[in-house]
């Protein structure tokens, strides 16, 4: 017998864990075209992948420090904005990750259908 009271939190934690890897994939894929943080977040939200600011910006920095993204500060609409773009190693990794994701998706579908 398990208590029901902890389940919403448990679900939320598991959901976040499940989304974490997918978010990296979504961000890398979205940055095949150059964007700055705010428009990137909006674009992801439009595709149903909402991500809060507190998660997105540290993630962008991490991906950049790993060499998967490149960024530059540039003026747009008289304001300085930091634009991000998928780097050449990033493109390579994205390709591998997408293949892996498709394989996981197919395996999971097989398992779930039983």
């Amino acid at each position: 017998m398990h208590s029901m009271t902890g389940e919403p939190n448990l679900f939320e934690n598991l959901r976040l864990e499940l989304r974490r890897g997918s978010l990296i994939l979504a961000v890398l894929a979205q940055l095949r075209t150059e964007q700055y943080g705010y428009t990137l977040r909006k674009a992801l939200a439009e595709h149903g992948m909402e991500i809060d600011e507190g998660t997105l910006y540290p993630l962008l920095r991490r991906l950049e420090s790993q060499g998967l993204l490149v960024s530059e500060w540039r003026e747009e609409d008289k304001r300085n904005k930091r634009f991000y773009l998928l780097s050449a190693p990033g493109k390579h990794i994205l390709k591998q990750l997408l293949a892996e994701w498709r394989s996981i998706d197919s395996s999971l579908n097989g398992i779930v259908k039983g």
Binding site: M1, Y36, G37, Y38, R41, D52, E53, G54, T55, Y57, P58, R61, R62, S65, W73, R79, N80, K81, R82
Partner: protein
Amino acid sequence: MELFQRYLQAVKFLLPRAQQEDIVKELSEDIRSQTEDKEAEAGRPLNEIEQIAILQQYGHPLIVASRYRQAPVQYLIGPILFPFYWFVLRTLLLIALGVCVLNSIAMLTSGEPLRQLLNGVPALARAALPAFGWITLMFAMLDFLEAKFRLLDRLNRQWDPRSLPSLPKQPQVRRSESIFGLVAGTVYIIWLLAVPYYPYLIFGPAASVLKLTPLWHRFYLPVVALGLGGLAQTAVNLARPDWTWLRAATHLVSNVVALIILRSILDKTYPFVTAVADTGSAGTRYVMLAATVNVFIALSLAGAAIGLSIAAVINVWSCLRELRRLLRGRAAASGTS
């Protein structure tokens, strides 16, 4: 907008110095873009409540800044060593508590006031805190060395699964131990019950010249009760050898009761035996014999008290172990139900 500036200032203070400007600039730009979008939707500048809502969406400065702190995550004692650290701390705490309980029992039986007893609590804390500090420091250093020299990786490379400890056997009271306890206990009880009628059983040939003082009458029944308790325990354990908790609990209770009895015997300087009156011309010699026997008994009882105190500490430990096993068994049973 002042609220936004205050927010950025708070976040900046908590960020890694080298990245402060860059991160705050980007955060500021994001807040500004979001504000402009919302203002365009509303057709007016945002009021304070709306600004607060935006900042609440970003989160507390501590949380926001913590997300920029990249791996490796800093631990004082990491997840590898933490179970050992916790085990050592708990063990020491249990030993300290056991000693404290025994000390309290000793103080209470010797008639010390409760206030004196309570003074022991800060004393325990004073002794425990430095121990806690040293153990923490030692494990933190071990953890640092483990991370620096990758000790666990080396261990893993050399590890052979055959070196794993064998599975623990289900603890049981040995049948031979119970049978011996039953026989020895029965003989002891018979001897104890016969002693008042046959002093020879305690004094041997000296029974005609020595006798026990009335002091013993006060303790006779508790001593018989203790013997019967031990006998009952061995009998039950013969039928239920898996009830190891019963042996531990009985031994502990017997130890404590025996210590209380000994304490009250040794507290008074009663003679334990006296010479039988009317022993004729040899009377003086028998009085001296009684005095020697009294000293011998006093020394023996003092030695027994020391032995019982050590046994009590060991039995406290056994009882705690049994209690832990019992609780774990219950948790496992409720987990599978």
